[in-house]
Amino acid sequence: MAVKDRMSGNEAVAFAIRQINPDVMPAFPITPSTEIPQMVSTYIANGEIDTEFIPVESEHSAMSAAIGSEAAGARTLTATSSAGLAYMWEELLLAASNRMPVALALVNRALSGPININCDHSDGMGARDTGWIQIYAENNQEVYDNFIQAYPIAEDPQVHLPIMICQDGFITSHAVENIELLEDGDVKEFVGEYEPEEFLLNPGKPIAVGPYSVTNYAMEAKKNQADALKRSKEVILKVAEEFEKISGRKYGLFEEYRTEDADYIMLIMGSAAGTAKQAVDDLREQGKKAGVIKLRVFRPFPADELAEALKGAKAVAVMDRTESYNGNGGPLGSEVTAGLYRKKIMVETVNYIYGLGGRDFTVQEVYDIFGELEDFIENGKAPEQFQYIGLRK
C-alpha cells in the first residue's frame, strides 16, 4: 500500500536508499546534494540500514572507491553535484568501461564559472558521453521512482552499466512536495538481492578487472559497451513496466503530454517540464494546440522514438538547460535535430537556452515561446536560434 507523505527531493532519494539498503556508499559532500550522504549516514548511525559509508577525501576518490567496491561484488552508490561530478570525470568513464552497475544520485547544479550553486544541467550534460545511463526527473516523486528502478536497470545482465539518477538542484532537491512512497517490503522485493556473476572477492574464481587494452582490443571493447548502452533502452522500458505493477505509475523513455493533436510541442527535461505542462493546460483552454514532451532518458538517447513523436508537429521548441559553447546550440537541440534529419522528418525546430545558473523559468516564458513558434509558422517570422530565455538586454 502506498504511503502518502511530503518530502524534498533529497529526502526522497535518501528514503529510497534506505529502502534499498545498498552495500557501500563512498561520498564527498557538495551543495546541493550534501543532504543525501548526510541523511544516509543518519540512517546508518540509527541502525536502520547496514550500508558501509566511506567518507572519502574527494569525488575522484568517491568514484574510485565506488568502482573498487562494485568490482569486489558490493552494490554501490554515491551522490554528487556540479564540480564534484566534474572531478569524477576520469573515473566515470572507467566505471562504464569496466561495466560496473554503480548508481549515482546527481543533483544537477551549474558547473563553474562563474561560480554558482544553483540549478542547470551543465554537470550532467558534461558527463553525457561517459557511457552512463542518465535518467532525469521532474519532481521528488519521479526521482524517488527512478532511483528504485536504477539497480534493476543497471544490474541487468544485458546492461551492466552505471546509472545516473538526476534531479534539479534546489528546485526539486530542496522543495518539499507531496509524494507517494512504496512499502519497504515492496521496494526490497522489486530491487532484489545483488548477485553478480563475477566479482573480485569470490574465492576460487579469480578475475582481473580493467586490464590494459592494446589497440587490437580497444575498439571491440568499446563496441560492446556501446551495444550494452543501446540494449539498456529495452531494459529501461521492461523495468518501468514492472515498476508500474507495484506503484501504478507509468514511465517510458519520455512522457508525451497533450501532444496527440499538437501543432506546437516543447521538448524539455527536469523540473521545468511541470511548469511547461501548466502553461500548456492554460494555452489549451484558449484553443491553442500545444503539447509537451518531457525527456526522461537522455542516455541512451531515444533519437528515433523522439523523431516519431515529433513528426506531427508544425514546430518544436527544444529546451536546453545548458550552454554548450559550440556555436551550434545545446546538447538536446543538436541530438534531436540529428535524429529528425536521419528519419527525414523535417519539422521546424527552435533551440532555446533557459534556466542557466538557477535562472527562474516561468509559465509566462512558456506562453511566449509557444507564441514565437506560432508566429514562425503562421507569419513566417523565424525565431532566433539558441536564444537565452529571460536574458536582460
Partner: protein, 193 residues
C-alpha cells in the same frame, strides 16, 4: 492559471523564514492539501535577506518556478521594508503580514502604495512571552494561517503539535512554548481577521 494559494516569505538568514515555509507545507499536507515549500537559495548568510515560498492547493501542483503574484506575503523582519519591495506583485485582494509592534496604519506608508490588506503581528513580544526568547517564525506561521484561512484553526493547532513533537524530539521543553506562541498570535489577530 491556478497554482493554488501562493505565499511569499521575506526574512533574514537565521530567522526561520524557510523553516516557517516548510512547517506550513507540513501542516497543510496533513490536512489533505497538495503543497510546495521551497526556499530561493543563494550564498545565504546570517542576516542576509532571503525569500521562501509556499503553494497550497486542492490539485496537484506542477509549476516549479518562483512566486511573482502571491496571495499573501509574510515579512519576518520589519527592517526589510527599507531594502526589499515586499509587496511586489502581491495581489490587490491579497494581504501582507509584517512582524512589527507598529499598527498596520503605521506600516502602510512603507509599502510603496500597496492597497490591499495589511496586518501586523508583534512576533517579538509574543515569542518572548511564550518562549522567553525571540524566534519569530512560530507567530508568523500562525499569522499566515489565520490571515489566509487555508486551514481551520483546530486542525492547524493539532497538526502543529505533531510537527513540533517530531521537530523538537530532543528539546521537548520548547514544544509548549511554541504552541502557546501560535495561540497568542491567533488571539492577537482575532479582531482583525
Amino acid at each position: 492559471m491556478s497554482n493554488g494559494f501562493e505565499i511569499r516569505w521575506h526574512g533574514r538568514g537565521g530567522q526561520g523564514a524557510k523553516t516557517a515555509a516548510l512547517l506550513l507545507a507540513d501542516a497543510a499536507f496533513k490536512t489533505g492539501k497538495y503543497v510546495q515549500g521551497f526556499p530561493e537559495y543563494g550564498p545565504e548568510r546570517m542576516g542576509a535577506p532571503i525569500t521562501a515560498y509556499n503553494r497550497i492547493s486542492d490539485q496537484p501542483i506542477r509549476v516549479h518556478s518562483n512566486i511573482y503574484t502571491p496571495d499573501l506575503v509574510a515579512v519576518v523582519d520589519e527592517t526589510l521594508l527599507h531594502s526589499v519591495d515586499v509587496t511586489d506583485g502581491l495581489k490587490e485582494d491579497g494581504a501582507v503580514i509584517v512582524n512589527s509592534p507598529k499598527s498596520p496604519e503605521e506600516i502602510r506608508p512603507m509599502l510603496k502604495g500597496y492597497k490591499g490588506k495589511v496586518y501586523t503581528v508583534d512576533a517579538r513580544k509574543i515569542s518572548v512571552e511564550a518562549l522567553g526568547k525571540y524566534f519569530p517564525n512560530s507567530p508568523m506561521l500562525a499569522a499566515a494561517v489565520a490571515v489566509s484561512g487555508i486551514m481551520e484553526h483546530d486542525a492547524f493547532i493539532s497538526e502543529m503539535r505533531n510537527s513540533y513533537q517530531h521537530k523538537f524530539a530532543k528539546k521537548p521543553e520548547v514544544i509548549d512554548g511554541n504552541m502557546l506562541a501560535l495561540q497568542l498570535t491567533y488571539d492577537a489577530l482575532k479582531d482583525v481577521v
